[in-house]
Amino acid sequence: MKALKISKSPDDAIKDLLSSLFEKQKIKGVFSLCYDQDYFYGFVTDKNLLNKLTPTAPVMPANGGKMLSRLTMLEPIQTPIVVVLRPCELRALYELVKLEQANIENLIFISFICPGVLSLKEIKGNIEEKVANVNQKQGLRECCRFCENFVPENADLILPIIDGENNNKTTIFIKTERGEELLQGIENNLVEEDFDSATLSSIREERTRYKEKTWQNIKTENFGIPGLIDIFGRCINCHACGRACPICYCNLCYFDSASNDTGPRVYEEELERRGALRLPSGTIFYHIGRMIHISLSCVGCGMCSDVCPISIPVGTVFTKIAEATQGLFNYVPGRDLEEKIPISTFKIKEFDELGEA
């Protein structure tokens, strides 16, 4: 793979590159994580505001894939822009394209091998130290700690893992022809280099171990209804997990609609049957319903766990279920735009035993 060496910190390297791209009028804007009093996603077209960018800070204030879907759902962005996203955000964006909720025309992707992001409650006051020590795993999202898909597959330019240690040297790997085109006439000193596969596999092994341990602890297959009540019973029905989820795209959610209200029609029936009713009702229905709706496309970004006001490990349960349902169809969300979401397609010969009972 061709690569570009820059003796600067990753953030500065990206900002310098963007600044030259602006000057040569190769791009008209950039979509990236920014910092101005707080972290947020910004769509920046003024070159003088590039200093607000913090593209690689280990923070995910919202899933960037979902934010881009809001911008591009009706029509693609008309001029080329650079988009800096984490691998899971990029995969979410790909799923949203398949769901006809986003357009990626004119978007050039920069991504990086992801060390994970800090839990949102860690993001207050001075977080510089936490950012620098992100490889110590302190305050990381649980979903990040067992994420095995941390190498971006579909980006044009890829940076190696950013762990606060390589502050003065950055390598930018050029993954696609489009990425090479972008750099033409800007940087000529390309070298031939590959990812450090030893580091990658040691990270992967560590995360797989952590995942197995987590799965062992949570044991969803032993839940049954009592287990589900145990974990989702305290859900306050705020639906923040769905709101934050990149895949849960419906503006009018069924679970927020009047058909899902606990009106007299519902409560009288329930009272007749059980003699009592838990409120808020339908929390288990909501969570299993969401698993049905989104587990095939779940990218494991962990937004749901992070926004849960009562700290239900939603993402941990969901990623486990998602691994099983995706495995059923040998499907990897966000891998390839041509690969259809399993329930939107079928094979004539499959699941032969179903229906023959």
Partner: protein, 142 residues
Amino acid sequence: MEEKEFLPRIIGFLCKWCSYAGADLAGVSRLKMPATLIPIRVMCSSRVDPLFILAALLRGADAVLVAGCHPGDCHYQTGNYYTRRRIALLEKIFDQLGIETDRLRLAWISASEGSRFRDVITKFTQQIKEKGPNPIKKEIFL
């Protein structure tokens, strides 16, 4: 007092073109079968949102039957292939959450298979009788 025999309540989603007609045929042929099915006619088995099945089970149905045309015979060409994937998906999720998957059944029954309809209902009822009532009914504060 003699304890009443447990008679399961099975919610059945029957496709209009095949399975509902099959059930009709079983009826007009006066085939004997347990009165456990509560039939709901749908235009196609793929009209059955997995949420319907989930709602039925959470609200205390002892079992759910989804029935449609045999693969290849769907009135809308391919509807039942989608149904099959959805049921496979739902079973996988139930399995992962420790919810019994044998309270859910998919069956292909054509309009001419009145006797197959009877057999499916009889067998399914027998199996659910052996399993007993849906334990969800015992959870008061669900």
